[in-house]
Point group: C2
């Protein structure tokens, strides 16, 4: 457990539109899926392989909130400058495809909008789209987050 910041401080100037970041990857196993579901999303298709076979998913799948939490872990632990305060000002999450036992996930982030504040020259607003991909490069989650970030000292509104 560290009391240090997990990455360099985030500044508006570091996040132009089009900048991309790729995280490390993490493997999700069956026991971890069941443990998360037991605590946070105890539905049969997240907990019980037999029941899951008869469900919409046709087999056991991870809770979408587990995919979201693991994506956050990847963002924080990969040393990217966008870890702190992701979704600070709001965000959207979609799960176009289920995460399954044995999947290996990584996240790809891209700055899709960046706007300096007219009224607050010391800050800007950045929109980051983060896709979480499995080992077959299939998208299992899309998160779009709007972040309020400081500008570097001395920056002028543009």
């Amino acid at each position: 457990m560290s009391s240090e910041s997990p990455g360099p401080p985030l500044h508006f100037e570091d996040l132009p539109v089009g900048r991309r970041f790729i995280t490390a990857s993490v493997r999700l196993d069956l026991e971890a899926i069941k443990a998360f579901a037991a605590s946070f999303d105890p539905q049969p298709f997240h907990l019980d392989e037999e029941a899951a076979k008869k469900s919409f998913f046709g087999g056991l799948v991870a809770s979408g909130w587990h995919t979201a939490a693991l994506t956050m872990r990847l963002l924080v632990t990969s040393g990217l400058p966008i870890a702190g305060g992701v979704i600070g000002a709001g965000g959207e999450v979609q799960w176009p495809r289920a995460t399954k036992p044995g999947d290996e996930l990584r996240a790809v982030c891209e700055v899709v909008a960046a706007k300096a504040s007219a009224s607050r020259p010391e800050r800007g607003m950045v929109t980051v789209r983060t896709e979480t991909l499995n080992q077959r490069d299939e998208v299992v989650q899309i998160m779009t987050a709007r972040l309020v970030v400081p500008r570097r000292a001395g920056a002028t509104a543009s």
Copy 2:
């Protein structure tokens, strides 16, 4: 661990605009906040009380993803008919206020839009706004989810 569905099946006709549901409540303690953060959001202000005092939050707070996961737990375990497939078709999450150690959370859901499908008479789209409140009735999370739900057999498009 049950292989039964956690609640009655969800139908479009059960979810008119304005219908509200209130979940049970759950208390979040310091150790649970740290354990979740260690697994999924290892930032100093979720893990270390001394470091958190010097942070933006001024004290240790729960990961927003922990608040989201606990809200899902409340929805699933409170026997409401909107548990399954929440955020099935996409959703938005905001955290206007931090969740702190000792907070007791409950969720209040309200149907804010409902539209029968013109092209698929067997289904409809429902938008549910879920506010997660603490013991002082302060909103710590707002989630807006769009759900695709089946219509009852024999229902006609309206």
